[in-house]
Symmetry: C2
């Protein structure tokens, strides 16, 4: 049976997206899917759709950190809330880290998953900066890139081809009709269908003709 | 073991809430919970929190009907999309049906679940009006109320005590920090914890110390 392609449009600004990322990596062999990681820019998507991040409604901003920790336990992902989410989400934003991931994707895509996880670990576990070159360097090192590779890739975040590629991926998501992160696209029988969020895995499994066995396939859930 | 209380704050305007309603009814004996149905007014909650319904973002409005049908299949709830959701959600709204449910709750609460389901069937399965007295009468009849009971209850939707009670329930949800429907409150060891949405049942089960067995407990899921 040929593999079905699943695309994950993601931005490391979103802790919910981290859950979807880990689940898809856990399932990629189990489900016989070809997983394509597609770093895009959520800020650009929001600008294009007029959607607003949940944190802008005060009651949601209060609920979200509780929800994130509960889901972290459910998905077995070591998420923690940053002290200053506004800085992470708005003041600093993720244009630079998403450009860095795009540069990784264009240069040595085999490291893209590991670097993405390291960025989430920095932002959503250790409350560290993910916009400074030193921080990106450290993430790439932990993900297994050599100093030589990092020295080649890092300057590319300011290059037009990387900027253009990130714009194109974001535009592709907009054209699809997406309005948030994660957006997960299933290619089935020549058709594209997509779901939004980290709470549609039973639906995604159904679209793929596969079985959803919970967040930790092969293991009894912690919850 | 004494029963744990679970409160469902709900408005029949929301198809997602219908899923949560059916799931909680299916689980109420299985989980040994005392389920309290709390009709509130989502329009009032939105006014109080500044939250906006997803339909106001065009990309979400396009995705939602697809999402609703997929989830209807997953939850085994016969939801269909109305032809004119804007009329249901905004022009007509649910102040009248939520007042009717409040009057039922204050008069013959044993019928509250059945009447709620009939209203969802009308709005989100048969695309029928739920604001006209004839429609409310029909829903109540199908739910098992006598003509005499209906004749007593229907005029009460304009009474101050019903209006006041609906306002109070909505205010209670606001005070809790809620921002949408469904809001599900678990009372555990003298503490109140709540979740938002129909996609947090594994979390709710964990809060209650119970097991989530999918949308159809005791039956293999259709998905």
């Amino acid at each position: 049976m040929s593999k079905k392609t699943v695309e994950l449009f993601y931005d490391v600004v979103s802790p919910y997206t981290w859950f979807a990322f880990e689940v898809l990596l856990r399932y990629q062999n189990r489900w016989n899917i070809n997983l394509k990681l597609r770093p895009f820019f959520l800020g650009g998507l929001n600008a294009g759709t007029g959607n607003k991040p949940p944190i802008m409604v005060p009651a949601k901003a209060k609920y979200m950190p509780i929800d994130v920790l509960r889901l972290g336990k459910y998905f077995d992902v070591p998420v923690k809330n940053p002290k200053d989410p506004v800085a992470l989400l708005f003041t600093k934003g993720t244009l630079i880290p998403q450009r860095f991931l795009t540069a990784i994707d264009m240069t040595c895509p085999q490291f893209l998953g590991n670097v993405s996880r390291e960025l989430w670990m920095r932002a959503w576990n250790r409350d560290e900066d993910i916009t400074e070159p030193a921080s990106l360097t450290q993430a790439a090192k932990l993900a297994g890139l050599s100093e030589k590779q990092i020295a080649e890739i890092l300057p590319r975040i300011n290059s037009n081809d990387v900027k253009e590629r990130l714009k194109q991926t974001t535009q592709e998501a907009l054209d699809l009709g997406a309005f948030g992160s994660p957006t997960i696209v299933a290619h089935v029988d020549g058709k594209k269908e997509w779901v939004f969020g980290s709470d549609r895995f039973p639906i995604l499994a159904d679209l793929l003709g596969e079985k959803w066995e919970g967040p930790l396939p092969g293991v009894s859930s912690k919850l």
